[in-house]
């Protein structure tokens, strides 16, 4: 099953399961979704549960927050997370803080979801990976799946969660296929990392876009150098399962962090800091980070490739920390 279909199945099952769940966003209904994640849902469930909005990100994010305060469980789709910046006031100033500043009276059970990061040559304003920004605010949870099973299991958990969840998909990964359990009650708890590949000599912490790249890099390193690489996917950025990452580093003594966002003040920087705090004595080499170049995303294909993380860059980083 593709990641797209897994997300679609999760939405469908949760709409069926709970009458308070509805999805709203630009082009989610009649058009079947800009990236077809909501394909068929409007035909099946109609206007009440699948709602086309005007192009009004701040406005419909706010409607979601108000509806959540009043007991509904909205799933708000951003056509891409780049547009969520227009809605940041509602996500950050309202959704994230409402439970706290109301003294625990009004929780906000809402999911904000959509594609994050780069696509194919869509240039500066449509290629940003924003997880570090949202992960910075107490009150928000941040989720980034990398497989179809994770996408389905995590989205179902996010919809059932009683807090605002930032659910970051990746446009170039929607068509990627992997096994998904058939069980309609299949969920994956938020805050639990997954070891995507076991290994003993070096750890790569990767998320979303960089997980398939890290797995490919691990194969290359294994074949060329007979070095065993472990790939850890935190899946949830907040809360972060640092224990699984630290356990892996204590085993391998080497760490590469691969991420699609820019490096400065990134989630990778946070992980690096927490590993330093919890496993400093276990590190046999400085931690290496692969991130997107510190420039707005260029349009030209060769420049875009140069800006983004890649299998080659991750292989080079692993070689560096393993002194190969």
């Amino acid at each position: 099953m593709t990641i797209r279909d897994a997300l679609n199945a999760a939405l469908r099952e949760e709409i069926l399961r709970d009458e308070n769940v509805f999805i709203m966003g630009e082009e989610v209904a009649e058009y079947d979704g800009a990236y077809k994640v909501t394909r068929g849902l409007w035909k099946e469930f109609g206007d009440k549960r699948v709602v086309d909005t005007p192009i009004t990100e701040l406005g419909f994010a706010a409607v979601g927050v108000g509806a959540a305060m009043a007991g509904l469980r909205p799933v708000v789709e951003f056509m891409t997370w780049n547009f969520s910046i227009l809605a940041a006031d509602q996500i950050i100033n309202h959704a994230a803080k409402m439970y706290y500043m109301s003294g625990g009276q009004f929780n906000i059970p809402i999911v904000f979801r959509g594609p994050n990061g780069s696509a194919y040559q869509v240039s500066s304003q449509h290629s940003q990976a924003l997880e570090a920004m949202y992960a910075n605010f107490p009150g928000l949870k941040v989720v980034m799946p990398s497989t179809a099973a994770d996408a389905k299991g995590l989205l179902k958990s996010a919809i059932r969660d009683n807090n605002p969840v930032i659910f970051l998909e990746q446009e170039t990964m929607y068509g990627m296929k992997s096994e998904v359990p058939d069980d309609e009650d299949f969920t994956i708890p938020l805050g639990v990392a997954d070891v995507k590949r076991e290994g003993s000599d070096c750890t790569i912490v990767a998320r979303s876009f960089t997980v398939p790249q890290a797995l490919k890099a691990a194969e290359i390193i294994q074949a060329e150098f007979d070095v065993s690489v472990e790939v850890v996917d935190p899946r949830t950025i907040k809360p972060l399962d640092i224990d699984t990452i630290v356990a892996s580093v204590k085993k391998t003594n080497r760490l590469v962090i691969a991420e699609e966002s820019h490096a400065f003040a990134s989630v990778g920087a946070e992980i690096s800091h927490q590993v330093m705090e919890n496993a400093f004595d276990y590190l046999d080499a400085p931690i290496k980070r692969i991130s997107t170049a510190e420039a707005p995303m260029p349009y030209a294909r060769n420049l875009e490739v140069a800006a983004l993380p890649s299998v080659e860059k991750i292989v080079a980083a692993v070689k560096e920390v393993c002194y190969l």
Partner: protein, 381 residues
């Protein structure tokens, strides 16, 4: 705004014409013709209008029972006395942070909120103490919150700008100018989704009208027929910037026409006019979910917040607006309607003073929150 008053009157005539059927979109709902209140903000003209509708106002007072009228007046007096006390204890250092007072605008909160029924919702801006008390949060809990005490309305976590009560349908005091307009729209969305005939009252100041969220929200509310009553409390100033220095047109209620929405000008110094306009809006909302924009014109006697030196306006201007004090106007009408006497007013004042003193005593004697509270209520289970 005397210089533009004539032009505004002309514009209002156009509004009334369109309400009579020329404008298809607005014809069913634009209610300007129902109300005698125009967009007059000039004190003398507003008072002349008020005098003209005095008879009908007395008539509507006589339709209400004495107990209800007494409660309306009491809430206005309590709101006034509470806020005056806030200013006093703020200067003593008992209240921290920002503290925005409601003095001069009491008729708006009382006239609108006393028209609600069970299941209706209210959301407002950071100027929220009086709305919170009318919603049913006790003066003790509000004052204790202002003191940052554990017994406060939100356990000392929100302060002046963030009063909430889920139980009473009070969805808070919000600190970002205009943010609550979108949230209120979502609350009305939920009321419609659940198939109720309830409505949401969404309060904001006139300066919030310049924010994008106002326009985004009203568009969706009319498009989807969400039962949200947008209450623009026009107190003339967005912090220290007057409306005429910040807004290209003066008459906010007319902006409703841009959305095909019903809109009314309301004299915010006349609590009965506020009530009547709210009842018309509520009727539209309950019937088919139609939203309304009410521009209720009042005047903020105090600064924007307690830290406002007020250099942008003169004492003469403040005094001029105070000639139409909402409490005095209401008391005069109640006397004329022979519902209450001066003695009744004195009793209500004494009761309000006692309630405020009890609130201060309660806040003073309450403990500060335990430090462990820092990390509670960040995430819900």
């Amino acid at each position: 705004m005397p210089k533009t008053a004539t032009r505004q009157k002309e514009e209002n005539k156009t509004t009334q014409n369109s309400a009579n059927g020329k404008n298809e979109t607005a014809s069913k709902t634009t209610p300007s013709a129902e109300s005698d209140v125009t967009e007059n903000y000039d004190v003398k003209e507003a008072q002349a209008e008020f005098n003209k509708r005095r008879k009908s106002q007395i008539a509507s007072i006589k339709k209400l029972d004495k107990e209800f009228l007494g409660e309306m007046l009491y809430q206005m007096i309590l709101g006034r006395r509470f806020e005056q006390k806030c200013a006093e204890v703020y200067r003593m250092g008992k209240i921290g942070g920002f503290c925005h007072l409601y003095i001069g605008q009491e008729a708006i909160a009382v006239g609108t909120m006393t028209a609600l029924k069970e299941g209706d919702y209210v959301i407002t801006s950071y100027r929220d103490h009086v709305q919170a008390m009318i919603a049913g949060i006790t003066p003790e809990a509000v004052m204790a919150e202002l003191y940052g005490k554990a017994t406060g309305n939100v356990k000392g976590k929100g302060g002046s700008m963030h009063m909430f009560s889920k139980e009473k349908g009070f969805f808070g005091g919000h600190g970002i100018v205009g943010g609550q307009i979108g949230v209120g729209t979502g609350m009305a969305y939920a009321q419609k989704y659940k198939g109720t005939d309830n409505v949401t009252l969404c309060f904001f100041g006139e300066a919030a009208v310049n924010q994008g969220i106002f326009h985004e929200s009203l568009n969706m509310a009319q498009l989807w027929k969400l039962p949200c009553i947008y209450i623009c409390e026009n107190n003339k100033y967005g912090m220290g910037t007057s409306q005429k220095r910040a807004m290209s047109i003066a008459n906010i209620a007319k902006k409703a026409e841009g959305f095909g929405m019903a809109g009314e000008f309301v004299d915010g110094m006349d609590v009965m006019a506020v009530r009547d306009a709210t009842l018309r809006a509520i009727e539209r909302g309950r019937k088919d979910g139609s939203p309304t924009l009410l521009e209720i014109r009042a005047y903020r006697y105090m600064g924007h917040s307690m830290s406002d030196p007020g250099k942008y306006r003169t004492t003469e201007e403040i005094k001029k607006y105070q000639e139409r004090d909402p409490i005095i106007l209401f008391q005069d009408s109640l006397k004329e309607a022979k519902v209450f006497t001066d003695k009744d007013f004195e009793e209500l004042m004494t009761k309000a003073n006692e309630a405020v003193e009890a609130a201060v005593k309660f806040a003073d004697e309450s403990p500060f929150p335990d430090e462990s509270e820092l990390f509670t209520d960040v995430y819900a289970d």
